[in-house]
């Protein structure tokens, strides 16, 4: 069964100023896509193609202008309070900018414990133990638990956000460029953690990125977006071969693994 599905979704933004509103600028245009349990799907595209907007619509942070988002069988527009709670517990999201995603006046411990309280009813000692486990799963020490966001590096704080997303044991995690600002060895460590959760708990992922290297490593299916449309959908098997112009442009822009002179020498 599909965990989340977009059916013919469209979205436009307009900006308002003193002289009135501008013409609405379409950002998403008739998008349909599904994510099934245990699937890792990549959403690939250049800056401004609408991939983050689609991610925000999928978790109900914004409403589509046209079309529908379905959580299981139900439209997001028909969800009651318990339904939203279930959606929040089932689908978690990690954003690109960790400083903007946390309360600057909360400690790391409280940031991670918040969804445990609201979504799982876990408090006190039980919550503290769970926070400790979550911190260690993302490679952070208990020593960081009482720090505030500004006392951590960007990479540490992003891992706090990942720990928070893992807290309610979600079935789907939407990662919006969530590892691209980490050092390489941390990126790989996080991908290994995600892969382990997929294997042991059948967690699905929507991996929003422009880095094809990570797509090849991590995903089974890739959607290519260009100017608000999905222009290509293809399974990932070995190295990616795209048929769309946008897919090929993205693939041509991947940085080389080795210096040119070494690749030319065939090593």
């Amino acid at each position: 069964m599909n965990l989340l599905e977009a059916r013919g979704v469209s979205k436009a933004y307009r900006t308002f100023s003193l002289v009135g509103a501008t013409k609405a600028k379409p950002v998403l245009n008739d998008i349909s896509m599904q994510i099934a349990a245990g699937e890792t799907v990549a959403l690939l595209g250049r800056s401004g193609c609408g991939k983050s907007t689609l991610a925000r619509l999928l978790v109900g942070l914004e409403r589509p202008d046209g079309g529908d988002i379905l959580f299981g069988e139900r439209s997001l527009t028909s969800l009651d309070k318990a339904g939203w709670r279930n959606l929040r517990k089932t689908v978690q999201m990690v954003f690109q900018d960790p400083l903007g995603a946390v309360n600057a006046r909360s400690t790391v411990k409280d940031i991670i414990a918040e969804p445990l309280n609201y979504l799982c009813g876990l408090t006190g000692q039980a919550a503290a133990e769970r926070v400790r486990d979550l911190l260690s799963s993302v490679g952070l020490n208990w020593a960081e638990a009482n720090k505030f966001p500004h006392q951590l590096s960007g990479g540490q704080l992003q891992r706090v956000c990942i720990a928070r997303a893992l807290a309610p044991d979600p079935k789907l995690i939407i990662l919006d460029e969530a590892v691209s600002n980490l050092d390489l060895h941390l990126q790989i460590q996080m991908l290994d953690l995600f892969e382990e959760l997929r294997r042991t708990k059948n967690v699905s992922y929507l991996f929003v990125t422009h880095d094809l290297r990570l797509v090849e490593k991590f995903c089974v299916r890739v959607l290519v977006m260009d100017q608000g449309r999905i222009v290509e959908e293809t399974p990932v098997s070995g190295s990616l071969a795209f048929s769309s112009a946008e897919g090929r442009a993205l693939s041509a822009a991947v940085l080389p693994p080795m210096p040119r002179q070494l690749l030319a020498a065939g090593s």
Binding site: L184, A253, L255, P257
Partner: protein, 263 residues
């Protein structure tokens, strides 16, 4: 201006933590030639950006340089006189490098008047530099503010300002880290072109070995404030000697499902 060698010699930077001195950059020396890209790589906090800042006398408050000098073609120069005259700089986040209430034209004039270049000559130079940076319609662009331009356009504009100074060397500190893949490729191609055509000597600060593979001729690896290895780019990828370099290359190659060539 034809300068052929920039030498950064014995730079050390320290800060005070809980009252006692803490060394952040420890006796770093680098040599950068004309028409060469030297990559300075290392993890976050290894001292790459501080080395550049110390060389240009723009260290952040609370840090100070305890030793070191910078010379061009053998003569030691006052570091505060290097900026824009000998060394231009582009940075990671071009948006934060521009004043949002000033147009591109005002930025260009400020940069060039600081160098004592007459306005008419400066305006000519900037138009040429914008074209050389791969941007069309320079006259129209000069009327824009930074919020009216994309990240890729702004980074090209930064490069245009750097070119307009006619400085022979360029410090590029994570120049493509915030840009998307396609724009990154375009900017790296542009830097490569400028290296070849203008014999620009580029110090490329990065943590991405893919960027190194694409652009660098030589690589200096930093760890804990020290240079632990300097070698031609091929040796870095094929036969990294220091454990820090080996880890960097191995992690990088694992992204491509390739294993390290070196044992």
């Amino acid at each position: 201006m034809t300068s052929s060698t920039l030498a950064i010699e014995g730079i050390s930077v320290e800060t005070a933590r809980h009252g006692s001195p803490l060394v952040l950059v420890d006796n770093v020396s680098l040599i950068l030639g004309a028409g060469e890209v030297l990559a300075l790589v290392g993890a976050n906090g290894s001292g790459k950006s501080l080395t550049c800042a110390a060389s240009l006398d723009v260290l952040p408050p609370g840090t100070r340089m305890t030793s070191g000098s910078v010379s061009i073609d053998g003569s030691v120069l006052q570091r505060s006189m290097l900026r824009a005259r000998h060394i231009a700089t582009i940075m990671q986040n071009p948006r934060s490098a521009f004043n949002p209430v000033r147009t591109m034209q005002e930025h260009a004039r400020e940069t060039l008047s600081a160098l004592g270049i007459p306005k008419a000559e400066g305006d000519q130079r900037i138009l040429q530099a914008i074209r050389a940076s791969g941007l069309d319609e320079p006259e129209r662009l000069l009327r824009l503010h930074s919020f009216e331009m994309s990240g890729g356009m702004l980074q090209r504009m930064m490069i245009a300002l750097a070119l307009a100074t006619e400085a022979p060397f360029l410090f590029a500190d994570e120049p493509t880290t915030d840009l998307d893949l396609i724009v990154q490729r375009e900017i790296l191609d542009l830097l490569d072109h400028l290296k070849r055509e203008r014999r620009l000597g580029i110090l490329l600060v990065t943590h991405d070995m893919g960027v190194v593979a694409k652009l660098a001729d030589r690589v200096a690896v930093m760890d804990g404030g020290r240079i632990v290895e300097t070698a031609p780019v091929a040796d870095i990828f094929l036969a990294p000697r220091h454990v820090t370099t080996q880890r960097l290359v191995e992690a990088h190659l694992s992204l491509y499902n390739l294993s390290g060539v070196a044992a």
